[in-house]
Point group: C2
Chain length 276, copies 2
């Protein structure tokens, strides 16, 4: 098993949770002003109930240099305070090879993420620089959770072929998984597509955003994505945990409660699946 898969499995086992908490600090919604304190509050409140954190780079970049300094402090905070928890840099980067190589340096060496999300529109050489970091995870954005996600991703490839673009993305990118560190991102809002991705990419970890605010189908996503005996999916929720309460005094506890509820909901479905 690759270093990354081991890390993933350990983080899930230690927390008995497939929950990944997204960090989307939005000044218009945060109950307190200080971004670091807000994010630390979310992390502290949820640490018992989740094995992974997913800072969303766009939300930090929107806050300028201060936001980026906070992101750096935040990654360090999680690594220091909660060793073993995965920190996934959600930036969906992807460019031609020479540029992707610089993004990989940024994400893995400067920010020190355990894993990242990438965009593989540029083909294999555009994500190889990320995959070359053998001990880090690389989640390829395969089927997105947004309403217009199907416009290109749903396109059928090649006359006569039966695969849509997202299926080709799943199939082809998993062929590049020489280091055992590749994963896929598939939105919970498209459970039928998730079933197809799991079929095409057995054994590949899938990061599943879109439960909570985006109203993805949790139970069906779990049934579609889980493979027995191995923790190869993460269920990511951001807004419904980050903004579970707008009370400055108890947002951290409220986030923990929301994360724990999600964990229990997930584990109840997993128990059902395992009983069958």
């Amino acid at each position: 098993m690759s270093v990354f898969l081991e890390k993933l499995e350990m983080s899930v086992n230690a927390s008995n949770s497939l929950v990944c908490v997204g960090l989307d600090p939005d000044p218009n919604r945060m109950p307190i002003q200080n971004v670091f304190e807000f994010c630390a509050g979310i992390v502290d409140g949820t640490a018992e109930y989740s094995g992974a954190y997913k800072p969303n780079l766009g939300f930090f970049e929107a806050l300028g240099i201060d936001g980026l300094i906070t992101l750096k402090k935040m990654v360090e905070y999680i690594h220091d305070r909660y060793p073993g928890k995965l920190v996934i840099g959600d930036g969906k980067r992807g460019d031609i090879d020479t540029t992707s190589s610089r993004y990989a340096t940024a994400l893995f060496e400067f920010w020190d993420f355990d894993a990242v999300t990438v965009n593989a529109y540029g083909g294999r050489d555009s994500i190889q620089p990320f995959l070359s970091y053998e001990d880090r995870g690389v989640f390829v954005w395969c089927k997105s959770s947004n309403p217009d996600g199907g416009q290109f991703q749903g396109e059928r490839s090649r006359p006569g072929a039966e695969l849509a673009l997202f299926e080709r993305m799943a199939e082809m990118s998993t062929e590049w998984n020489e280091n055992g560190n590749l994963g896929l991102v598939v939105g919970a809002t498209y459970p039928a597509e998730l079933e197809k991705v799991r079929e095409l990419a057995p054994g590949i970890p899938i990061l599943i955003p879109g439960v909570g605010s985006q109203q993805g189908d949790l139970a069906r996503s779990l049934r579609a994505g889980t493979e027995r005996g191995f923790a190869n999916i993460l269920i990511s929720s951001s807004r419904s945990i980050n903004y579970a309460s707008n009370d400055a005094k108890n947002f951290s506890q409220a986030a923990g409660k929301a994360a724990n509820m999600l964990r229990e909901e997930i584990n109840a479905v997993l128990n059902d699946i395992n009983r069958q």
Copy 2:
């Protein structure tokens, strides 16, 4: 004509140049250590010969917070010192709508780019937040310049249909151009594909990287991309201008010379085209 197209035309006319100078500061190749001084040297040396600059975000992010502070200073420097020159933030961002909205805030409000490159794999709602900034340009990554770019982009869409993914990207995204601020990115390394894109997207500005180090076909790209009487393409070159010399004393002049040579080469081809 949209504010962005006017800006683009003015920047090209003022410099009599379709050259866009990429800024790819690489510590392993820079003749001087200071990133700001290096970039300023490239800008000062080339300002007479180019209408646009394209900082490549990956190269700045790889340098951590210092690199990002330098990027901010650099954009300000170009706006202050060379008003009218377009500054294109090359970050290929793209995510679900709520996140793209934060990236748009970052790129247009914090960094203050005149235009950006984006990745439209997520469909229309994933790039709408960028397009909504009516006075800024949004270049959709359509056909990339790297060797593996065709793996997904070359896929035929729909059985029976004759369009490859990059052609659908060109066709569909230009339908979203309600504000007249959308452009496309097509590598000079694939001139036949550029011809197809121009056919599918008449009147749309095309940003063409890949000449110079990547050895794209300049003359054929110009013939494919140009539409008479309107400055609707930019030819972007990074490495062969940034690293024209590794001499700390004359890298700025050498960059200027390289940019001017590219400008003259372009203008000679344009003269040929106009004579025909």
